[in-house]
């Protein structure tokens, strides 16, 4: 019965809904800017936007203007980019590795980022010359590099069924790499951090958009766009992996270069996001599954749908993190996990039933 219900739904979506994507995104950004401890009327927001973007000259309260432009809008834009990037990385990894549990942090990126950030913050490496973000970025790349080398070593000399073997090797290497870097992080914290520092680091690790400014957006926007373009360009290659790597190869996909390029691109984009906002969990896992449920598994639809849903989900989570407990900002990772875990369970159960 479910088939009869879901399939026409998937068809009727077609590609016609693509045109509403920018509208939904803009609406989400405005909501992210309007809602907060002090709510700001939408008219005021539109005036500030017109002043900045169109060179208009409306008179707006300077404090409101500052909050809107410098704090909330930049924060919403970065949240959108981050949500888009994590969701797309999830889409790509789940497609390529044929594993529904694959998520952007599978490749050791969040663990490495934590170690990098902690090394800079606690152990004082770089003596102030390195920012927390840069430390996290370097840590993420280092850890990803180790995972890739490990996967490559585990995978060399393997013959038949290479697609399955390679995907398994990447997942196992990712787990090993993550464990190693998590242990390093714990080691550094217990050895040298004070209780206050440890709390601050915990807060950062769970994802934090509080310190985000336009400078971060200038990094996040190009990174997210790059991720989106790469995914859209390779949407047919991603489709070809439906029956695994061997099947993709028999349909003309140069599996090794395409898979390598896509994974590296997604790792870079994820590393950029983690270095800006910390490791926000569950977005990369839940959004692709939820979108597959709604628009189907074809990447022509799945990629734009996941990009949009990831952006809206993270802007929404950020709003919740600011208003849920008055006078306190919760780590956004707490919100995404609180929503994401039950949502994931629901998708699993309903998916099984259908």
């Amino acid at each position: 019965m479910r088939i009869a219900l879901t399939w026409p739904l998937t068809v009727s979506f077609g590609l016609r809904w693509l045109w509403i994507t920018p509208a939904v995104l803009v609406a989400a950004l405005i909501a992210g800017t309007a809602i907060g401890e002090t709510s700001i009327p939408i008219v005021t927001i539109l005036k500030v936007l017109a002043n900045h973007l169109l060179g208009a000259d409306y008179t707006v309260n300077r404090i409101d203007a500052g909050i809107i432009w410098n704090y909330r809008l930049s924060r919403a834009v970065v949240a959108a980019c981050c949500g888009t990037s994590l969701a797309l990385a999830g889409v790509v990894l789940q497609a390529l590795l044929r594993n529904p549990l694959a998520d952007p942090y599978l490749m050791g990126i969040s663990a490495g980022a934590s170690t990098g950030a902690v090394t800079v913050a606690v152990a004082g490496v770089g003596a102030g010359a390195l920012s927390l973000s840069l430390g996290a970025f370097i840590g993420a790349l280092l850890s990803f590099g180790i995972v890739v080398m490990l996967a490559h070593a585990a995978n060399s000399g393997v013959g038949g069924g290479r697609g399955v073997q390679a995907a398994g090797a990447i997942i196992l290497a990712g787990i090993a790499g993550s464990q190693l870097f998590n242990a390093l992080t714990a080691f550094i914290i217990t050895k040298s951090a004070s209780a206050e520092q440890a709390r601050g680091i915990m807060f950062w690790l769970m994802g934090n958009l509080s310190g985000v400014r336009w400078a971060d957006a200038t990094l996040a926007v190009p990174a997210a766009l790059f991720g989106l373009v790469v995914c859209l360009w390779h949407r047919r290659s991603l489709d070809a992996f439906t029956f695994g790597a061997d099947s993709a190869a028999s349909m003309g996909i140069a599996v090794r270069p395409v898979r390598g390029m896509l994974i590296i691109a997604m790792a870079l984009v994820t590393a950029v996001m983690v270095s800006i906002v910390g490791a926000i969990g569950f977005v990369g896992l839940v959004i692709p599954h939820a979108m597959r449920f709604i628009v189907g598994s074809r990447h022509t639809r799945l990629v734009p749908a996941s990009a949009l849903a990831g952006a809206v989900f993270l802007i929404g989570s950020d709003i919740l993190s600011r208003v849920l407990v008055s006078g306190q900002v919760l780590p956004i990772g707490v919100i995404t996990s609180l929503i994401g875990a039950p949502a994931f369970a629901l998708i699993l159960v309903r998916g099984k039933r259908s």
Partner: protein, 254 residues
């Protein structure tokens, strides 16, 4: 297209799976590959499809070495139906068959009416057009196999490689798939377990422990002696009184 294998060697972790395999299949021929389990049929098909590189020797299509071609160019000529290929994705029958058009599509060559027509034709060829909108995970094993064959046909290959395609199929669909394959005006290499089905091929080759030990006309190859030596069964050939064709009857294992 002519498909040639020259002195192919292939090994995994030091275990030789193919040893000095030489084979030529003429354009338009249906070549049956038979042999006991583990004799190297699947390995040979993977090498012929360009999925694995041989340790030694080479594969040629017409006179062009396979390793000099890009994966995309290979896929425009050769289609492979694997033995087991499954997915947990929510895809429909039509979407799976449409994947066969992948080697012909690009950013500059988007999906067209022609692709749509080819997919519809392939769905009809494998008798799955009435189930085109069914989801993959609701299909039986035999239906999935037919969809895979449909996907390969949508690739419009000049050479079609099939790895035991009649597994999971009921007898009606076994016969209709074999009939379809024989009628295709392209080169087909098909591995089969049912030796009576193999008798219908233009030529057959017998694999045993990684070697292609014999090839030629089915009647010349599948003799009681060969069945005993390679397949380990006592069998004899009887004439079907209806159409005069020869049928093998297997009595017992050696």
């Amino acid at each position: 297209m002519r498909l040639t294998a020259e002195q192919l060697d292939w090994a995994v972790h030091g275990t030789p799976l193919l040893i000095d395999v030489n084979l030529t299949v003429e354009p338009g021929q249906t070549f049956g590959l038979v042999g006991p389990n583990g004799s190297g049929k699947t390995s040979l098909l993977r090498l012929l499809a360009g999925l694995n590189k041989p340790k030694a020797g080479r594969v040629l299509i017409n006179s062009q070495p396979l390793h000099s071609l890009k994966q995309r160019a290979i896929a425009q000529s050769i289609a492979l139906v694997e033995q087991q290929a499954d997915t947990t994705d929510r895809v429909t029958v039509r979407q799976v068959v449409a994947l066969g058009r992948t080697p012909f599509l690009s950013a500059l060559r988007p999906w067209s009416e022609e692709d749509e027509a080819i997919v519809t034709r392939a769905l009809h060829d494998v008798d799955m057009h009435r189930m085109a909108d069914r989801l993959w995970h609701t299909l039986s094993g035999g239906e999935r196999q037919r969809v895979h064959i449909g996907r390969a046909l949508a690739q419009q290959p000049k050479i079609l490689l099939l790895d035991e395609p009649t597994n999971h199929l009921d007898i009606r669909h076994q016969l209709s798939i074999l009939e379809l394959v024989r009628q295709l005006p392209i080169t087909v290499i098909i591995s089969l377990h049912d030796l009576n089905h193999a008798m219908e091929c233009d030529r057959i080759g017998v694999m045993d422990r990684g070697r292609l030990i014999d090839s030629g006309l089915p009647h010349d190859i599948l003799t009681p002696n060969r069945l005993q030596q390679t397949f380990g069964v006592y069998a004899h050939v009887i004439d079907d009184p209806v159409d005069g064709k020869q049928v093998m009857r297997f009595r017992n294992a050696v």
